[in-house]
Structures are given as C-alpha cells and as structure tokens.
Amino acid sequence: MKNMFSTNNKYLSLLVTIALFILMFGAGSVMYPGFFSFQNIFNILINNSYLIIIAIGMTLVIISGGIDLSVGSLLAFSTMLAASLLENYHMSPVVVIPLVLATGSIFGCFMGCLIQYFDLPPFIITLAGLYLARGMCYVVSIDTIPITNSFFTSVAQYEIHFSPDTFISINVVIALVMILIALYLAHYTKFGRTVYAIGGNEQSALLMGLPVAQTKVLVYTFSGFCSALAGIVFTFYMLSGYALHGTGLELDTIAAVVIGGTLLTGGVGYIAGTIFGVLVFGTIQVLVTNQSLNSWWTRIAVGILIFLFCLIQRLFESGKAAGGVKTPEVSDASVKKIE
C-alpha cells in the first residue's frame, strides 16, 4: 500500500485521475439524490463518446511530444463532408463512411509530413490546420445540412439495453472498440512503444535505430483518423453537418488528456488515464448543469484543473531531478592505487 503512493510508481498519475473521478462522482451523488446510477455514467459516455475517440488520437500525439489543434475543426469538416455526400449527392453510407475516414487520415498525414520533414512547429502547423479545416467546412456549405439518410437516423436512435432502464448507444460501442484498439496499439505494438520513446527522448530514439520519421507522421495520421471517426459518431449524435460543430473541442480534448495524467511535454501518459480524464470532464459538465450554472463555469473549472495538474507535474519533475535511487554498495576490497 505504501508503494502505491511513492513517486516512483509509474501509475501514480493514473491513480490520481481515477481518484479524482471517484471524488467528483461521489460529490455529485451526495449533492443530488439519484445521481449515483449506472445510467448516469452511461449518459456521460453517450454524450462524450466522440470526445473519447478524439482524445485517444490526441493522447498518442501528445505522448510523442507533439500537439494537434485541428481536431475540432476536422470533426466539423467530417460532419460536413458526410452530410453533403449523403444528402446532396445521395451516396450510400457504405461509401461515405470510409471516404470520410480516409479524408481525415490524409489531412493528418499532410500535417504530419510538414511537421516531420520540414522541422516545423506542430503548434503552428496544426493551428493553421484548424483554420484550414474550418474554412473547408464553409467551402462545402455555409449552412447546416440536416441528415435524413435512413441508416444514420436508425443508428442515432438505436439503444442497446442492459435492463429496461439502462442503455447505451452505438456510439458508446464504437468508442469502446476504439479504446481497445488504442490500448493494444499503445502497449502491445512496436508503433506504440516507439511513440513513447520519441516523446521521452527523440534524439535517443533516433540513435537507437527506431523509425522516428514514419512514426511521427503516422501518429498525426492516426489523430486525423480519430477526428474523422469522431465526426461520424457526432453525426450519429446530431444528425447534421455544421461548420460550427466542435468549436473549442481541441481545448476540451487537451484538458481531458492533461487531467488524465499525460504530460504535455511528452513521453508519459496512458490511454486509460485519458478515458478517466474524459469522464472527469463529463462529470464536471453534468454537475455544472445540475447546479444551473452557466456552461462557462466548465471552462473555468477545466482551466483551474489544468493549472493544478501542470503545477504538480512540474514539481514532480524538479523533485525527481534531485532524487533518484542510489547504486548498491560494492562489497569488494578497495581498488589498488597506482603510484
């Protein structure tokens, strides 16, 4: 038990986030009767499944030492593209969905190539990507495009019941599948481990012979894919394509990732942490709504949480620099001195 809270425990930040979630949910349960129910947790999942998917992509990008600010706009563009293809060109979902996913991936790949091969700062490139994607939304259409396609409408309304009162939506299933895929990628593939290595020390990763360039480009491609998938999921949720979808989503995502224990400096983070980060974020929103507070309180609370997490992370970093495990003593006789 003592070891659980030592600073050397690599799962410490994950535990903190889980504890935070339990704390918040517990507080909610105390404040509102009926808060503590499975359906409440399921509702948080239903309402935030797109956020989970995007945050997964963002987590890998941040672990690799980069950042992706285009996710929200890319989500919006994906909804626009899907809606337009479905409604205006009457294409089948079987074609539209893969097309949208491919477009998102290519967009991410484009940014990844600029960042990697020309040594450009990810912050600026993806921020410009934010502008680009949102602009492209307007190129497709200035107004919203409602989706009437039967496949989409039926998926939107479908409920998977565990009991008469508890259910989840298909979006949650998609999110859960993505979580499993992400866990596999992050912990059981060379790609995932290379992402961690790059974030820890890119120079060392290069010297150790790891495929740094491909991995970095791939990680942005994956983030683009996640944004596109989240866009599809969002269309199941909102049944429309609209350029203003997902405004500010990148910030919510970064917030969830940071609260989940991933360091913005790279190299450290867990997919599981991000999931709980999203749950914490979702719980804050529910609490804020329940208190009839304005939604901007969410922003402030999130800002404060990020600050606290950054501060704590910084303190840990400087504390670790001073400490460190000592080498065990050598029991041999002393070495001869040369005269």
Binding site: I124, I125, G135, M136
Partner: protein
Amino acid sequence: MGEISVIWKKFYSSRIFWPVAALVFFLLVNLIIKADFFTIEIKDGHLYGNIIDIIKNSIPIMLISIGLTLVIATKGIDISVGSLVAISSAVVAVMIGGNLVMVNGHQEFVTLFPMPVAILGALLVTSIAGMWNGMLVSRVGIQPIIATLILFIAGRGIAQLITTGQIVYLYYEPFFFLGSGYLFGLPFSLYIVIFVLVITMFIVRKTAIGMFIESVGINPTASRFSGINAKNIIFWCYVFCGFCSGIAGLVVCSNIKSADGNNAGLLMELDAILSVVLGGTSLSGGKFYLMGSMIGALIIQTLSVTIWSFNVPPQISLVVKAFVIYIICLLQSGKFRKGLFRIFGGKEIVS
C-alpha cells in the same frame, strides 16, 4: 540620384522590405479588380474609403501584435491574447454599465463607474493576467505554449463570469469615440495605436531593454552571465502583452458597442502571431521588428479584403490564411530552403 540609390539599397536589404513589398502587391491586386480601390472621400467630416477600412479593421490586431512581438522575441509565445481581449471588453462594459436617468428634465446616461476608471480597470485586469502568464513562464518554468494555454481555455470562462453570461450592450456615447470616433478625419483608434507604438519603440530603442530582450531570446545563458536579469525581462514582456491585449479589447468593445464573452477576440491569436511572423520577427526569438508587425497586420487585413473582392465568402479566407501560414513557415524552414536550392541550383544565399 546617387543618394536615392543609397536609400533604396538600404531599404532593399532591410528586413522590412519583403513585408512592405507583399503589402503593396496585395493592394495593387485590389486596384486591378476595383479601379476605385484607392479613392478616399470625405463624408460626415471624416475620411472614408477602402484603405481607411483596412486600417481601421487591423487596429485591434496591431495593438495585440505590439506586445506579442516582444514576447515572441524572448523565444516565448502568448496564445491567450484573444481571451484577454474578451476579458478586457467584459470588464470595461460591466464597469461602465449604467442607466438612463432624468436630470433637470433631460435624459442623461450615468455610468456605474467613471469611464476613465472603467478603462483603467480593464487594463489592470489584463495586465494582471499577463503577470500570471509571465510568472508561470519565468518563475515556475512552464513552457510558454502550455502556460498561456490555461488562460486560452479559462479566459473566456472568466469573461463570461464577469458579464454573468450575457452580452452586455453599451449606450454610453463618450466611450464609443474610442473605437468609432474620428479625429481630424482619421479614426481615433488609429491615434491610439500610433501612440502606443511610438512610446513602445521609444522605450525599446532609447533604453537598453530592446537589446536585452533580443539578447535573452537569442542566448539566455550568455545574457545571464552578462548581468542581465532574464527572468524579469521575460516576466514584464508578458505583462506588457496582457496590457496591449487589454487596449485591443477596449477598442473592440467600443467598436461593436457591446461585450460578448464568447466571440470577442475570437481567432485573434493566430492573426496576431501571423502578423508578427510576417513582419520579420522569427518564432525562435531574437531580433524583433515592431514596424514589421504593423505591416503584417495590414497584410492580413488586405488579404481578407482581396479574397472578399473576389466574391468569395469571408469564411473561406480561413483557408487562404492557413495556406499563407504554411508557405511562410516553409520559407522560414532551413530544410525547405535547402531543398529548393537543390532543385533550382541557385547560389547559396547567406541568410
């Protein structure tokens, strides 16, 4: 004739040549499309025309860029500037507030706080926000992007908090003069920019602080060894940036006669960063060019107008802006320039 060629040569080799050239280029494109682009008339006692509009609309970005240029010169960045604009608008609007009352048979508008106090209040709040940013970067040692990310996220929430979630409308006439008034035919806000710019340039070049900022941005260790207090310099640059964003917020609020916590200053951070970069200051810190940043702001505004005059919806300008950023970044990238030379086999230009 010889003197002119000397002046031209100096201009050509200075960093400000390319920004000015780009600006002239875009202005000329507009002239080609619309022959009367440059015409200026006098209406209602003040100058009126496309050029005046461009200048007027670039003023908030210009104000932000003055502070942001210094921050970027220290090898930092401040992405919270847009949120600070929202906060400043909110503070001044709420503090002016006020009601219509009857005084001696006339209807008069009475403010909650005197206007000067409200203005000072707004500037104070954003300066404190700048202190917060500066403290995180220089004392706690957090990376500038991450440090200013916090206010980037929370700032609008704070602005909403101040306006209690509603858009605050202003009716106090004297305040409108700030953003919409004219003095000697030119927009009053232009005088504000010129004032701030001149004072900043004066301070930066007539005291040692300009050189110290550049020194800190290029080599903080060597600067420290020379007895320069890098931490303090970095701190005050962020404070000043907050202050400038505050002024920008006042102008914005006065212009649209309201404070909207959600939309005020939206997307301004990228425009401001773009202005500074277009003006010749490098994102990796060091030498900075205040005049260049002003030209940069004008370029962005002219770019938007150019796109608009092609009858393209204004939202599409986002796409163009994005590509302009990519092109500039590529041009600033050493790897890209090397690649170009290999393809075109040109002479190695020492940059």
